[in-house]
Symmetry: C2
Subunit: 391 residues, 2 copies
Amino acid sequence: MRPPWRGRYPRSVTFPVVGMVGGGQLARMTHEAGIPLGIRFKLLSDTPQDSAAQVVSDVVIGDYRDLDTLRAFARGCDVITFDHEHVPTEHLRALEADGIPVRPGPDALVHAQDKGVMRARLDAIGVPCPRHRIVSDPADVVAFAEEGDGFPVVLKTVRGGYDGKGVWVVDSAEEAEDPFRAGVPVLAEEKVDYVRELAANVVRSPHGQAVAYPVVESQQVNGVCDTVIAPAPDLDPALALEAEEMALTIAKELGVVGHLAVELFQTRDGRILVNELAMRPHNSGHWSMDGAITSQFANHVRAVLDLPLGDPRPRAPWTVMVNVLGGDYPDMYSAYLHCMARDPQLKIHMYGKDVKPGRKVGHVNTYGDDLDDVLERARHAAGYLRGTITE
Amino acid sequence: MRPPWRGRYPRSVTFPVVGMVGGGQLARMTHEAGIPLGIRFKLLSDTPQDSAAQVVSDVVIGDYRDLDTLRAFARGCDVITFDHEHVPTEHLRALEADGIPVRPGPDALVHAQDKGVMRARLDAIGVPCPRHRIVSDPADVVAFAEEGDGFPVVLKTVRGGYDGKGVWVVDSAEEAEDPFRAGVPVLAEEKVDYVRELAANVVRSPHGQAVAYPVVESQQVNGVCDTVIAPAPDLDPALALEAEEMALTIAKELGVVGHLAVELFQTRDGRILVNELAMRPHNSGHWSMDGAITSQFANHVRAVLDLPLGDPRPRAPWTVMVNVLGGDYPDMYSAYLHCMARDPQLKIHMYGKDVKPGRKVGHVNTYGDDLDDVLERARHAAGYLRGTITE
């Protein structure tokens, strides 16, 4: 088996070039994971100040929505992958037509870009989802509600939402008017009676190898991921297996290459339903940087290069990730003294982003044998960095 | 406690800039360790092709032997540290006089630059070394031999040697002529009857905090480090403690800031003697990247910034590092398929360097419960990458 770039550089002894579209923290951490593999990174970033642009040597500043920019960027890349899912599907098809491997490819990625397409496809392959339907106006939302258990109903624009944006929970026809104002198709979903959120992270390579990380519990605050516990505590092993198999099935059936995060609801009556899909390294997998034998970022790089995947198993009984959100105090560096002195095992991951209230600017990982202790350490550090804990 | 750069950027919310002199693999891996901390790296590199220059965004190409170049580079850095020990001592003093923190400082670093100064200082603080003396000519080497057990005698130029270069083992006055030709002072040492080589790695910060990594066994082949086993197998705990304390004493007495590697002989009669010192992350500490809670590179960054140090303890019972040397086959990337498929837990660290026979171009780490298995996996992978194992 010969990797795809070999034919392009027959006399070269250099390692492949991975083109990463998007300069956010996922690109930054993917670059970090690529360094030890000798992989060369080329970054397409909106600005030189973007998180990844600060640490990558080969950066192109440009707009990923412009096909000419993408095409010029892709020249000299052996494969293109993504920090986010916002590149227009037709541009990805154009790059593929130019002969550039795009991973994940447009046919897979559309399921992470368009919630309507995603729901239809998951229905078709028999993956359990919340009851759902594309709705056309507030009256249709009322009809959707009456077909089930009534209000509240969850409305989502099919494209463009993230971290709670583009999502509404409505109790009436009047409240259902906002989502239609953007002119984007709106998906209605039942408000699931869930006990917690889980995430199943898998990585799949072009030749079909796939690995599953342990299913994690993901705790949201105001619609934003706050805490991830790996593995999910007190999860029935049969349900964990079902979630892993579900994620592997989705990856295979949708032709995903790279990392796939499947966000799940664990319902009060013991089922799991798919909430969202993300086809890139994901916040629910950040624990793996310090908690797994192979991190999600390293495995994403290996997958997009069609290299054999690394072992996804945990290195410690418990790993906890807590996001560091921006607070009122912009200087997080001075908090290092306290955090590092208090917990010499703490793992800090900062993204080099300007601190703005509520913005994800980093995360911390802790691991160990005692979940209470591991949780306390991560929460304390994240709170101290944010400024909500001052002692 | 306020970090030293705070006064320089009173209104800045940015993180400190670490200036790294030298673009080799140690700089590359230090940069990798600095990314999650949000530390900004500025690199002074000989060429844009150097190992670290490939992956650092802020690179100055220049000659570290030129004081003006160093001074211009140091502007905008909060602290200067090093990939190697070759910067002239007087240049470091000039930078310090300019107000730039240099870590380790010239008074410490000279002990890693000049073996004569090092031996004199270790004698003065009572650290056991091989019998040694500065010798002036071949006749003086004969005299040195006769003062002890006779030939062979080890001769070393006091400056400029590494990886076996600048070292001679001589059996007669005639053989002792070569080392004097360079015009550099020559140190004579007894040929120690050792059973193995060990290394004690410690990290010390400006305010005096220090941590000790477990003492490792370092196996050399043709004067070049080949395999490191952490911790050193079958090492008497009292001897391990003595080695750690010795390294901590040296770090303190010499005023080392950052990583200090103390290469040791374990003698047949059960003593440990200091062979060499290195004041930077060191090959004998590469295992810590995957095998310790905090890697030597992360702790070096923390030390030079006077941040609290991270836990140096191992994460697995055994970790093995084997260097990947260049072989006859220049394309190491295609070997990834076999190596990764054979061992999904393997950790590869490549430096982006051109493959030349015998050159250190990377290393692999393995860890686990069974030393024989861990050793076999690392040796197989390194051999396969080099091309000496083909199945």
